[in-house]
């Protein structure tokens, strides 16, 4: 029996087998129980927003798609929606339908991927192998429709790049039928498998009040009873012409998040059938100007992980003045610390995984941390810091020409 007062500090991350991306959870343990968690992001900042300002809108669509390797269509759609709003483009209906179709197929592959990861985190590798096998169906389908498995490159400003041929409808429907059968099996499994229920029920509790206070989004919020879904609340693409339910759950735990995602999968299958039935004929894009007139807009998109928000400010040139990406994970990270309160170390991986985190997509800022804690630097300070750092080590860089006046 460990000493009750003795606290063991366990570093989960930045490199750890439970994490697919670098982030850090400094966990203080009393025995097997968590007494506090310090969360730290920022290990994978890629400078995408700055990169967008340096490139043209056409190139930006390509870059923005690479914010995330799972919900790539979500990010590119949110971005082009904002740009189209500034440019005042009215999309052909068929383009909207194809965007919705790819978006929903992406949701299938993302949710199945999540289910497998969740299984792996609680040591249920059989579930991982099964779901990822089934996921191959939709991945193959996406590759067939778009040419790529992950970065579909379907969006262009003013529409989509490829049409969906009539003979592909049957193929899509057969995949949807097959996956619906599998999803029903997983729902039954989740409801009846004892060890699964034991590991998920009551774990990572987040009350409705906390979910709202912490600004939680997506399935994580909906599993805490927050009835919020951008697809219904602020319809984009062709969601206003589709019938679907927003799945919510009152369990507020990881089990609820599983149930919500499985329920959303069933809704998605029905939506895809509606899309194929209602798909109008016509062109798939309108011509977009290279120079976007000055203005600003926000693109909202219900990604598989929650609401994805892109802000774009245009200044009349062919490059945006500012692009801001708020990935859904950023909205959900705050709630993780709350969920982990007084939990078990064994539950940490599944609680973190249950928000379906995508930390690389979230990282936006560099914080330099010394003995005095966090410090935010602007460009000049950063240059001076670098010059000073090198000078202390015998290298003088102050004569180099840099942006900003260097007088360190």
């Amino acid at each position: 029996m460990p000493n009750k007062d003795k606290i063991v500090r366990v570093p989960i991350g930045p490199q750890h087998p439970a994490l697919k991306e670098p982030e850090s959870f400094m966990v203080d343990l009393q025995g097997e129980r968590i007494s506090s968690v310090a969360l730290r992001l920022g290990y994978n900042h890629r400078g995408i927003e700055k990169g967008c300002e340096e490139r043209t809108y056409v190139q930006d669509v390509y870059l923005i798609e690479r914010v995330c390797g799972i919900c790539s269509h979500s990010h590119s759609t949110a971005f082009v929606q904002a740009v189209e709003e500034i440019a005042g483009l009215e999309l052909p209906r068929r383009a909207k339908y194809i965007r919705t179709l790819i978006g929903e197929l992406e949701r299938i592959h993302s949710h199945l991927l999540w289910l497998g990861v969740a299984g792996h985190e609680i040591g249920f590798d059989t579930l991982l192998m099964y779901t990822w096998r089934d996921r191959e169906l939709v991945m193959d389908l996406l590759a067939e429709l778009t040419g790529n498995r992950v970065h579909y490159a379907m969006n262009v400003i003013g529409g989509v790049k490829r049409d969906v041929a009539l003979d592909q409808y049957a193929r899509i429907l057969s995949v949807v039928d097959a996956l619906e059968e599998r999803t029903k099996y997983y729902i039954e499994l989740a409801m009846t498998e004892e060890t699964l229920a034991q590991r998920l029920s009551g774990v990572g509790y987040l009350s409705k009040a906390d979910a709202e206070r912490l600004g939680t989004v997506g399935p994580t919020a909906r599993a805490s009873g927050v009835d919020r879904d951008t697809r219904r609340d602020d319809p984009y693409a062709s969601y206003d012409e589709l019938e679907f339910q927003v799945i919510t759950d009152e369990r507020c735990d990881v089990f609820g998040r599983t149930v919500v995602r499985l329920g959303e999968l069933m809704q998605t299958y029905s939506m895809i059938r509606q899309i194929l039935k209602q798909m109008p004929d016509g062109p798939i894009s309108v011509k977009a100007p290279l120079r976007i007139p000055a203005g600003e807009a926000v693109g909202r998109y219900e990604a598989p992980r929650g609401e994805d928000v892109h802000y774009v400010r245009a200044n009349g040139t062919d490059k945006p003045e500012r692009v801001k990406v708020r990935a859904p994970t950023l909205a959900n990270t705050q709630s993780v610390a709350k969920m982990l309160e007084d939990g078990y170390l064994a539950d940490l991986p599944i609680v973190v995984a249950a928000i379906d985190p995508c930390f690389s997509c979230t990282d936006r800022m560099i914080g330099v941390r010394g003995a005095g804690g966090a410090k935010v630097m602007n460009w000049e300070e950063l240059v001076q810091y670098g010059v000073r750092w090198h000078r202390e080590r015998g290298v003088d860089l102050s004569s180099l020409k840099m942006r900003g006046d260097v007088t360190a």
């Binding site: 087998p17 792996h120 040591g123 059989t126």
Partner: protein
């Protein structure tokens, strides 16, 4: 038995070398079955050997703060204890290599040593993950060891012998009494999962929480020794369960006896692989609650049944 043949049988057949070959083959069977049950291809037959050779060729790092002596000796002790245990278990026929009265207790004790070495190795390697793994390993021992021991004691009570060879001989003479011990067989299999640290009881090495648990700081040769010890432990555990709970075909010709023995071990390994496919990993508190509230009472029920049956016959 002369000294020469004794040394030969301890080191080669059916001792150390035989056990190692069987252990590696057993690992292959387990991984292959696990993979096929998960709809995967699984590794080729030589994969466990290749893994072992690779580990033996790798750099062997000892953490600076670790207690070198304990850290180095733990893997060797683990393997030695398992091999020693195999000498008291009748593999085919009803006679073990070195049977004596009371060897059942000795075998259970020897099979406990690997877990203790995991604890010591993990504890002394001074890494926080290994320390946590060590704590969990030792906590887990207190959960599964009692049901395991009790489930093995019940058949011994009925056979009125403390020697595994004696138990095997008794059930060989009264073939239908094995059916009385079915509950104990189930308990022993589940407890064996705990001993071998497999899903749902792989808590001490839960990779998504504590990296590789007690083995986090082990590498190269020492890790290979641990791996080998676990492989052999699976075989010895399966042999023990087979000798006590599956007393069939013990009086056959040696070559046929070996085949029957291999079939029994294969059967036990297959059941273990199936079980670890079916479940998610439990939490340590759930595991302890399960072992004490469910598994132990069932094991004691078996003892009660066997006491009653003993009065009846």
């Amino acid at each position: 038995m002369t000294v020469g043949t004794a040394v030969l049988s301890i080191l080669v057949f059916p001792g150390f070398l035989f056990l190692v070959v069987l252990g590696l083959a057993g690992e292959f069977v387990d991984r292959r079955l696990y993979a096929r049950l998960q709809n995967r291809q699984g590794p080729p037959w030589y994969q466990p050997v290749a893994d072992m050779l690779k580990l033996f060729g790798k750099e062997d790092v000892v953490p600076e703060e670790a207690d070198r002596r304990v850290f180095n000796l733990a893997p060797v002790f683990a393997l030695a204890a398992v091999v020693a245990a195999s000498l008291y278990i009748p593999l085919w026929g009803t006679q073990a290599l070195l049977p004596f009265d009371g060897d059942l207790i000795v075998v259970v004790y020897l099979l406990l040593i690997p877990t203790l070495t995991f604890f010591l190795g993990g504890w002394t390697s001074s890494s926080v993950f290994a320390t946590l793994g060590a704590m969990r390993a030792i906590t887990q021992v207190f959960a599964y060891e009692t049901p395991l021991l009790v489930s093995l004691l019940a058949p011994a009570l009925l056979a009125n012998s403390w020697s595994i060879s004696g138990i095997a001989a008794y059930y060989s003479a009264h073939p239908w009494l094995w059916a009385v011990n079915l509950i104990g067989f189930g308990v022993a299999l589940v407890a064996l999962l705990g001993k071998l640290e497999r899903v749902p009881f792989d808590i001490p090495e839960a990779e998504t929480e504590i990296v590789a648990g007690v083995f986090t700081e082990y590498s190269g040769r020492r890790l290979a020794f641990f791996r080998l010890a676990i492989d052999c432990e699976a075989i010895v555990g399966a042999s023990l369960v087979a000798a006590i709970f599956l007393p069939f075909g013990l009086g056959l010709a040696p070559w046929l006896g070996i085949l029957v023995y291999l079939a029994k071990v294969l059967f036990v390994l297959a059941v273990l692989a199936l079980l670890r496919t079916l479940f998610a990993r439990l939490r340590i508190d759930q595991m302890i609650a399960f072992c004490w509230k469910v598994l132990a009472p069932i094991a004691f029920l078996q003892v009660l049944v066997n006491l009653i049956v003993r009065e009846l016959i």
